[in-house]
Amino acid sequence: MIMAATVKKSAKSYFSVGEEIQDTKAPAGPIDKKWETRKFEAKLVNPANRRKLTVIIVGTGLAGASAGATLGEAGYNVHSFCFQDSPRRAHSIAAQGGINAAKNYRNDNDSVHRLFYDTVKGGDYRARETNVHRLAEISAGIIDQCVAQGVPFAREYGGLLDTRSFGGVQVQRTFYARGQTGQQLLIGAYQALQRQVAAGTVTMHARHEMLEVIIHDGRARGIVTRDLISGEIETWYADAVVLASGGYGNVFFLSTNAMGSNVTASWRAHRKGAYFGNPCYTQIHPTCIPVTGEHQSKLTLMSESLRNDGRIWVPKNPADAEKDPRTIPEDERDYYLERIYPSFGNLVPRDIASRQAKYMCDEGRGVGPAIAETDHATGETVERRRGVYLDFADAIGRLGQKAIATKYGNLFDMYRQITGENPYETPMRIYPAVHYVMGGLWVDYDLMSSITGLYVAGEANFSDHGANRLGASALMQGLSDGYFVLPNVINDYLATGPFEEIDDSTPAVAEALADAKGRIEKLLSIQGERSVDSFHRELGSIMWEYCGMERTEAGLITAIERIRALRQEFWSNVRVLGVNEDFNQALERAGRVADLIDLGELMCVDALHRRESCGGHFRGESQTDDGEALRHDDEFAYVAAWEFAGEGQSPILHKEPLVYEAIELKQRSYK
């Protein structure tokens, strides 16, 4: 066990401040004309010249698959990569709730401007206005596109599309396909991509993992991959590279992300010069199925719509934790959200519901199995119950079991399948879990990173959600980036190509190849005592404790020092068996965990430097008298874009000031 650092450093010693940066691509003019102007001003590529231009796309989720299909249709030569066995597996597939669009089909005063406003406000005023407005403008066209592809959205008896309200907004703009919207949208994009594979415009490389980006003459010109079956390390060249490789919630080990979700593509690009935007902005979802033991490998989300009818409580007396909850009388229960937030009650925003559940369990009033965890204050292993009740007894009594089954049947079944308990009879147990990251590689209005020719789309970029994402907006952003944004701006850059031919003897290529191979050789040569997973679990435990629902200066400094020690131990004591020239899953995971360790440190530095609370980032030192997140717009109304300064060097902070012209900044309140 690694103990806390004994020498305490000041927060400022962990980073240095560089020059401010700006987005230079969004044109001047009124906000609702910017996208039109940008599309008009972007240079075009003659259709006959497009097949001479190659675009590499890493990742086949909503953003990557839709970009691949659309650029293929346009006639570019596309190479698409994913680490799974088929592009259809990408983790967008697990999104449940729905996709927002400003269609105003409900005649409920919805509009592009309202979706824009809700998204900026929901992001706690830490998103870039221009990008968010474009997202709202594009949203309606996404629904048209998906319907034309055959996405089976929920419909009404008249044959038209049904919508529902979602995630704390007052209009019904969320389109959905039962609880499997992400699956249906992804399959639509996947089919469009497969159509282009058949047409010969897209070449698919499944079971390939990107290990390096190749930068030659200041431009992103290709990638280095590992064939996950044969272990072969290969180079691929292109005129532009798109990263659509998803989010990095797995830095917490336990999250609702897929097991394979990782930061490697983004992190490798970061090390080569791509700035990382707001890495500490993490979204934690309050209604997930709790951890049941040390075997746990991932957490499962249940739609937060459950909070509409379920009441959240814990026993007043910690000694009641093991009692059958049905036998605990009303006056010995603490419906803590209803008590603390009488007007919003169980429907407070995600971050508040999450944080309060943590406080209850920290106090020892959690329920469910007692699980061994590290008490980070003492370094000792303690047993804690990490769960609170979500009770439907009142709702079942009022509406009947049948009505509840109609609304939530699939969620109740899922809960029963995973826990073996029947939630119609006994209260559910829930606990928060990490499920989305708003942070990601910094991009300009054209989605180009700080590396020329390297584009970033979907969850992998930092762009549209500010410090907190609204429900049903991730799917919208992924498809907006892939179907409509990238294909209308990447041409501006490709029009200056094709670029000089390079090959494996080009110094930049040889260097990237040597880096990728060197890392693998190093991982295999250590032959230490600890498994990759044990390092990943320890990293997750540090991140969850200090960079999770509540962050403090002292905690973050402790976390940074522990992560540094963990990195040192990883590179001297990890055990990866087998060889490179084989299907070697431990080796795959080792490379990913190594990058997650480095990312974890940067997240803590970012969280440390931002001495305010905003959206999903809650600093204990910055709260209102009511315990609400307190922003400091005078000091922190900027995007933190971090530059990699070299191995062992403090990262460099570049601030992109956030300018609000169309929307006025406000402090939120849910009392």
């Binding site: 799974q84 983790h91 929920a154 089919q191 058949a198 490998s297 498994s531 044990s534």
Partner: protein
Amino acid sequence: MKITLKVWRQANKDAAGSMVTYQLDGVSENSSFLEMLDMLNEQLTSQNQEPVAFDYDCREGICGMCGIVINGSAHGRYESDVATTTCQLHMRSFRDGDVIEVEPWRTGAFPVVKDLVVDRSAFDRIIQAGGFISVNTGSAPEAHSTPAPKRQADRAFDVATCIGCGACVAACPNGAGMLFTSAKITHLANLPQGQPERRLRVKAMIAAHDENGFGGCQNVGECASVCPKEIPLESIAQLNRDLIASMFRGDGKSTD
């Protein structure tokens, strides 16, 4: 729980494989089947033995990446009360002291890559042959310009939930991929947007199915009984109806 595992180990696609027995102690009944295999792999790693290769990703039953034959049934369907993927099967479905046999999908169209991992790219090739609606981005009409009857839209959704895991092929005595193929045919055939290419699609997808090493369908029904998403056998009937109807049409003749 104490478990005895008999696991198929095969170094690569060309190597001969065999069942290898492992003992596992202290398995929690709350762990999922894959978490139990994680535990086995941690144990093997600590003993300097190479871990067992198996596919997984979302671990919530939706990505379709996992797939293991457990005690002779795909995804361990016959160990579970309800339809399930391997990742959603939990150890409480087994008893202390059980012997569990673990094998990969065994079928001609899915060659073994290593241990429990198989190559399912043949499914992608079936979709490439016609499992889509040809609509370029940007050319879509307004979503409400074509209403779709709710009943048919719901039916389309029911079969569109296919996760492409391949359990249907693994369970089929003939190694047919008909349930998978018919799910896509039925999904698109029930939507107005799917009509223009309907006849062409069914011919092209069936041709790709046959070319990619899948066997013929004899309506045995094992596929539907193990399907984690409960895609009904009737979707194969829909496929057959569409295929027969397409024989009397010119659609698709030029694609040879």
